[in-house]
């Protein structure tokens, strides 16, 4: 292997890391907010629940790439939209990618949240009710903390899968890590070396996130396993 070439490629690819991270952070935070809204909608009424279910069904049943294309290329079909105030935004590949990633993430996250909520024991809720807690207090102090702990492992997997999904933004011309790798290959024709370098970058990133989530899980779930007797000082 040509080490000098690899040493030259790495910094070029790393230049795309901020874009990769900003795509991931924006779409994950937007997705989380949307997922909470979807959960609220689901709890609000029958019609709301039907809408939430339909939303999840659509976004989980189709490939993310087609969702990106639908927003990036598809919206241009409507002249009314092309002449609206939003167009300068919706024309931007960055905005479209974030929008698609966010909408997609919300569908998966709301399912994870639903699983977490279902795992909150009815006993804990009864104890809160009987103490005279109002619904908002109960949600904030008992239900959401318990649901969050329960959902954390699945949510950790969702975070890493979103980080990986940001690579699809390269298909709509964004120069994040994968996009830069693609450009580099079209110049040097050394696909294996370049794509392996990119793979290493993602692998390190994903490993770091996995570690972080494990650490968080450990801290938050002392209450679950009697094997770990760790009380805070």
């Amino acid at each position: 292997m040509d080490l000098a070439f690899i040493a030259a490629v790495f910094p070029k690819l790393l230049a795309g890391l901020p874009l990769t991270l900003s795509l991931a952070v924006l779409s994950l935070s937007g997705g989380a907010i949307l997922a909470l809204l979807l959960s609220g909608l689901r709890a609000s009424s029958w019609l709301g629940a039907q809408f939430a279910n339909f939303y999840v069904y659509i976004f989980r049943g189709t490939p993310l790439l087609i969702q990106i294309f639908l927003i990036y290329y598809g919206l241009a079909q409507f002249p009314a939209l092309r002449h609206s105030l939003l167009w300068p935004l919706l024309r931007e590949p960055y905005v479209c990618a974030v929008l698609a990633l966010m909408l997609n993430d919300a569908a998966y996250t709301s399912e994870i949240l639903r699983g977490g909520l279902r795992a909150v024991s009815s006993g804990a809720i009864e104890a809160a009710k009987v103490a005279g807690m109002s619904r908002p207090t109960m949600l904030r102090r008992i239900v959401l903390p318990l649901a969050f702990r329960q959902a954390l492992p699945a949510y950790g997997a969702e975070v890493t899968s979103m980080v990986k999904a940001t690579s699809l933004a390269s298909v709509v011309t964004l120069m994040e890590v994968t996009g830069l790798a693609r450009a580099e290959v079209s110049q040097s024709y050394r696909a294996i070396e370049v794509f392996l370098c990119a793979a290493v970058i993602y692998l390190v990133l994903v490993t770091l996130i996995t570690r972080l989530v494990h650490w968080l899980e450990d801290r938050l779930s002392t209450h679950r396993s009697p094997a770990l007797d760790r009380s805070p000082a």
């Binding site: 790439l65 290329y73 598809g74 890493t160 994968t178 290959v185 294996i192 993602y202």
Partner: protein
């Protein structure tokens, strides 16, 4: 509205035939990839459960690496990397210029490799969910290992693995859209071409989405029915993965 029907229909103006063929290609790539994944997954699950230490380690590393890399990069590596290698070999034998390789083959292998890592986890979980008593009961009868695997382990594990494998199949279908980057005319590629030439991108990408949704929905139902049939008379078992 009428125009949309004509364009999506099977008439001379319509893209219906193209989309149908593309949908079948999506199914074919997915089926090949899933089969590759199942073979790889079974081997890895075996390595993780009963394999020698070196193999177990290799299976673990394979799992961690494939779960840490974007699917798109794996496809690029197989397609462009594969082309690079094949070209290099061909040039050794006096051929000049780049050699194209099949997007279908590269894509199925790449997605099979990705799915294999996940399927290994599903199968391993299913194996561990088998009540150990049933294995002991088989052992005391003096059953041979292979008979035990065939008659006792595999039927129980596959039952429990069905939901997880169903999820994997759904993922494979969605990942197959990425193979469009190799130029293979599967669903996403076909609707992109149609969107370009008709200048109706929303219509055609929406139609593409509908094709995927139809495939995932129908296959979801098939797996649901299979689960229901397999689970008749079975005690409830819960497995992660």
């Amino acid at each position: 509205m009428g125009e949309a029907f004509t364009l999506l229909g099977f008439g001379p103006e319509g893209w219906g035939h193209a989309l149908l063929t593309a949908g079948l290609t999506t199914l074919a790539v997915s089926a090949c990839a899933f089969a590759c994944g199942l073979v790889l997954g079974t081997l890895c699950a075996w390595a993780k459960i009963a394999g020698p230490a070196a193999l177990r380690r290799a299976a673990d590393i394979y799992g961690v690496v494939l779960r840490g890399i974007p699917d798109l990069l794996v496809i690029y590596l197989f397609y462009f990397g594969g082309r690079q290698i094949v070209t290099a070999i061909a040039n050794q034998f006096g051929h000049t210029g780049p050699v194209e390789i099949s997007g279908f083959v590269a894509g199925s292998l790449a997605i099979g490799l990705i799915s294999g890592a996940a399927q290994a986890e599903v199968l391993r979980g299913a194996f561990h969910a088998i009540p150990s008593g049933t294995l002991e009961a088989a052992r005391v009868t003096g059953m041979r290992r292979w008979t035990m695997f065939r008659r006792i382990i595999a039927p129980q594990a596959l039952r429990t693995a069905l939901p997880g494998l169903g999820n994997q199949w759904q993922s494979v279908i969605k990942e197959s859209a990425l193979v469009s980057v190799t130029g293979l005319v599967e669903t996403l590629r076909a609707v992109s071409v149609a969107a370009n030439s008709t200048e109706l991108p929303f219509l055609f990408f929406l139609a593409g989405g509908a094709i995927y949704l139809a495939i995932t929905t129908v296959s979801g139902l098939v797996f649901r029915i299979a689960e229901w049939r397999a689970m008749r008379g079975q005690p409830a078992m819960r497995v992660g993965g």
